[in-house]
């Protein structure tokens, strides 16, 4: 079937190609592989290295194993947590499916922690309530100690080995093959061998994870560079709501590794330099278990008021020693290990220094609740699908998290929409049974993207590492927890001028086999696209909502701004447009916006 106009690119034909072997990609692959489809999973790292592995606290589902619970209460909390920017049809779908999918994970072998009666252990997490906020704290987060992501990712890998999924490991996706407005495959670079591959497929699924590395200090792995979103921007497609970037209240100060919300769920709390439990002032009811945006802002305000700890007065303390050594070692063993290794603190005795830290990309590739990638045309309210293209997991904006994600909802999202995508794609495949004949020259753009860096005359420019550090500094100092007009405008200008630096940048390593400097250069290109989109969307939104908090516009403005941002790169500029929130759920009544108190 080789009809490409080169023999340097291997041409594959699969029913489906999935970019990403995290929880989302592998859950989806499993659905399709078990049904007998030819699935290729392309991942830039070995599957078990994907960042789902780092998730700690757990996954939400209204099982009601400890206290009564209902998916509808979960839905209420999620809508409220999203600051009313979440799409309520998708949220209903997710919360309804949650109990079934957690049980399914258990059946597949996930080593969940257990209650005395043998059922799955559930802990309290931020922003959870019973009876629509009236019934007190819920216990909804299903946990495997504080290693839930590791447990889920490994189980998904095991199930895929069993199902015979075909993995292309350490392959880097370079660009989408778009023809006639639809997606027909992806070009990829085999990192280990230094060779090109064109994966043609009837359906392409982007499951590339988050983009935390646009910031300097982050809980995200080095590989979290938002590649899927960047591939879409490169293809002229929009990405959604990038201004909403979650700062987790408790990253280890100055280094980044996450200290899970599970610590506060189990009874830990925050202190300022005066030893005051300040969350009582900001959220009288939920206290330390208020939503993440609320807690992060509170810490930022304490620090601003001079009540930060340490020589630079720039962090808060997370106290948990009162839980006792036994509880800590049993329920939070990984936290104990991380605090010891990265903060030099034995948390059974001392508090952990923590700081709001870039953590989760609420924005991403716009999809409907069926995981189909959608675009909105100027002036029309309707969404139009991009044929053959799907997106799931942290890379996607479905949008179940809106302006602020609740802890425990992302592991849930990846399995719920991983499965939903599998189901939708099967339907799609039954209607699209043949591969299209693509342009024999379709490989050019992908190859050029790599060869530019490897070209001998590309020498002596700025180092990729320096450009990246610059970008991360700009994002960190201009688009952090609190934002203002002047600072953001300065940030936009700085990022826009820095993007030029990539054209001048160069790499030392011109070899093909396992060239990780090349991979970092490609990742930097992707990061830069997303940083630009983030900056533009943030500077444009003149209100405070969820993770986007402005000093100069401190209130939420539902009249003007209850809408999703869409950024596209057009020529040299980032264009921002908007689309309405899908406020109508599938079967229940809509939750109308009201003031958020915790």
């Amino acid at each position: 079937m080789a009809y490409l106009s080169t023999d340097k690119v291997e041409h594959h034909h699969h029913d489906v190609v999935i970019i990403g072997a995290g929880g989302a990609g592998m859950r989806c692959a499993l659905q399709l592989a078990e049904a007998g489809y030819r699935v290729a999973v392309v991942s830039k790292v070995l599957p078990t290295r994907s960042h789902t592995v780092a998730a700690q606290g757990g996954m939400n589902a209204a099982l009601g194993n400890l206290d009564s619970d209902h998916w509808h209460w979960h839905m209420y909390d999620t809508v409220k947590g999203s600051d009313y920017l979440g799409d309520q049809d998708a949220i209903e779908y997710m919360c309804r499916a949650a109990p079934q999918l957690v049980k399914e994970l258990e059946h597949q072998g996930v080593p969940f922690s257990r209650n005395d009666d043998g059922k799955i252990y559930q802990r309290a997490f931020g922003g959870q309530s019973r009876e629509f906020g009236e019934g007190g704290q819920a216990k909804r987060t299903c946990a495997a100690a504080d290693r839930t992501g590791h447990a889920i990712l490994h189980t998904m890998y095991q199930q895929n080995i069993k199902a015979g999924t075909h993995f292309y490991e350490e392959f880097f996706a370079l660009n989408l093959i778009m023809e006639d407005g639809g997606c027909h495959g992806v070009m990829a670079w085999d990192i280990g061998k230094g060779e090109y591959h064109l994966f043609q497929a009837k359906a392409v699924i982007l499951a590339t994870g988050g983009a935390g590395r646009i910031f300097k200090t982050t809980t995200n792995a080095h590989i979290c560079t938002g590649d899927g979103g960047a591939l879409c921007l490169d293809a002229g497609l929009p990405i959604e709501d990038m201004e909403f970037f979650q700062f987790h209240p408790t990253g280890i100060a100055h280094v980044g590794p996450l200290i899970s919300e599970a610590v506060r769920g189990e009874g830990g709390y925050l202190l300022n330099s005066e030893g005051e439990r300040f969350m009582e002032r900001y959220a009288p009811t939920a206290k330390d278990l208020a939503s993440r945006d609320v807690v992060s802002r509170a810490i930022a305000l304490e620090i601003r008021a001079g009540k930060g700890c340490g020589t630079n007065k720039d962090y808060a303390l997370l106290k948990l020693d009162h839980l006792g050594e036994e509880t800590i070692l049993k329920k939070l063993p990984n936290i104990h290990e991380l605090a010891l290794r990265f903060a030099g603190v034995d948390c059974t005795k001392e508090p952990i220094p923590v700081q709001p830290t870039a953590h989760y990309t609420m924005g991403g590739i716009p999809t409907n609740r069926h995981t189909e990638v959608v675009i909105n045309h100027e002036g029309s309210d309707g969404e139009e699908k991009v044929p053959g293209l799907f997106a799931i997991g942290e890379a996607a904006c479905t949008s179940v998290h809106g302006a602020n994600r609740l802890g425990g909802n992302s592991l849930l999202e990846i399995v719920v929409f991983g499965r939903a995508c599998g189901l939708k794609v099967m339907k799609w495949l039954s209607e699209h049974r043949y591969h299209k004949t693509i342009d024999p020259d379709a490989w050019h753009a992908g190859v050029n993207r790599v060869e530019r860096w490897l070209a001998k005359d590309n020498k002596g420019g700025e180092k990729v590492g320096d450009v990246r550090a610059n970008m991360q500094d700009i994002m960190q100092s201009h688009f952090s927890v609190y934002r203002t007009e002047d600072v953001m405008q300065e940030g936009v200008t700085a990022i826009e001028s820095l993007k030029e630096a990539i054209h001048q940048a160069s790499i030392d390593d011109k070899h093909r086999i396992f060239n990780t400097e090349l991979v970092e250069a490609l990742e930097l290109e992707n990061l830069m696209s997303l940083a630009r989109a983030t900056a533009a969307c943030a500077a444009n939104r003149k209100e405070s909502r969820g993770a986007h908090a402005r000093d100069d516009y401190p209130e939420r403005d539902d009249k003007q701004w209850m809408k999703h941002s869409l950024a596209t790169v057009q020529g040299d500029t980032v264009e921002v447009s908007y689309k309405p929130v899908r406020s109508t759920p599938m079967t229940v009544e809509s939750f109308p916006p009201k003031k958020r108190v915790y």
Binding site: V45, L46, T48, R49, S50, H51, V53, A54, V102, K103, E106, H107, Q108, G109, P111, F112, S113, R114, N115, D116, D117, G118, K119, I120, A144, R147, H150, A151, H154, T155, Q158, Q159, I161, K162, G192, A221, H222, H254, V255, G256, P257, E337, L338, R341, F342, G344, K463, V464, G465, D466, A469, D508, D509, H511, R512, I513, F514, N515, T516, E517
Partner: protein, 236 residues
């Protein structure tokens, strides 16, 4: 702070080098608590962009950066610079085919993992709710499910160096034991049949290197003993 640390790093580029060699670097200590991965990153981003190694999470959970550090296997991202004898000698995991510099081919290691059928096998239909498991039964999995598949143990095992084609090695055997121990799994008989083999299992001579190498403080030696005991028990 102008303190520095000296490293000697194994280099091999298959496109240009006939033989591997050690290269010296000197890196400033930029912060207290600095890890070996920070030093490698410093080299890559400032001194020599071609230095090649794997890394992802940076916090010891993904298993990417297993390497040999002053003769002992460990994860670069959680190994503190402080306390290491200088120059710090950094080599790829031992006895593995080297792809480039510190990157080794993990295929055989993962193939051995796959051989033990690392998934839940149950004869009963999937129940409506979760399968029940008591906290005590669940506690049996502690010390094995946490494995990050970094390969530090297996590549430190002399028996695996000699017989790695047939001896499964400590990492795979630790996982074999994890499934034997899982109260939800019904395939113990078949799992033991597969392991009852003079090479797959019995090449372990209790040298304990594996336990010392494990950066997650897991104990494959004990798991191997557990399997041997289970095999003895089923004979009587």
């Amino acid at each position: 702070m102008n303190k520095t640390v000296k490293l000697e790093i194994y280099r091999f580029n298959p496109e240009t080098d006939e033989k591997p060699y050690m290269q010296s670097f000197e890196v400033p200590i930029e912060k207290p608590g600095m890890k070996l991965l920070d030093a490698l990153n410093y080299i890559k981003w400032n001194l020599d962009g071609s230095l090649t190694y794997r890394r992802s999470c940076g916090e010891g959970v993904c298993g990417s950066d297993g390497m040999n550090i002053n003769g002992v296997n460990g994860l670069g991202c959680i190994t503190p610079i402080e306390g290491l004898k200088q120059p710090i000698k950094v080599r790829p995991l031992p006895n593995m085919p080297v792809t480039r510099d510190l990157v080794v081919d993990m295929k055989h290691f993962f193939d051995q993992y796959k051989q033990i059928k690392p998934w839940l096998q149950s004869n009963t239909p999937r129940p409506e709710h979760e399968r029940l498991q008591s906290p005590a039964e669940r506690a049996e999995l502690d010390g094995s499910y946490e494995c990050v598949l970094c390969g530090c143990c297996t590549t430190s095992c002399p028996s695996w160096w000699w017989n790695g084609d047939r001896f499964l090695g400590p990492a795979a055997l630790l996982q074999a034991n994890r499934w034997l121990k899982d109260s939800r799994d019904d395939a113990a008989g078949e799992r033991l049949d597969m392991l009852e083999d003079s090479f797959k299992l019995y090449r372990c001579h209790q040298i304990m290197n594996c336990m010392e190498a494990c950066p997650k403080d897991l104990n494959p030696t004990k798991a191997i003993n557990d399997i041997k005991r289970a095999l003895v028990k089923r004979k009587v």
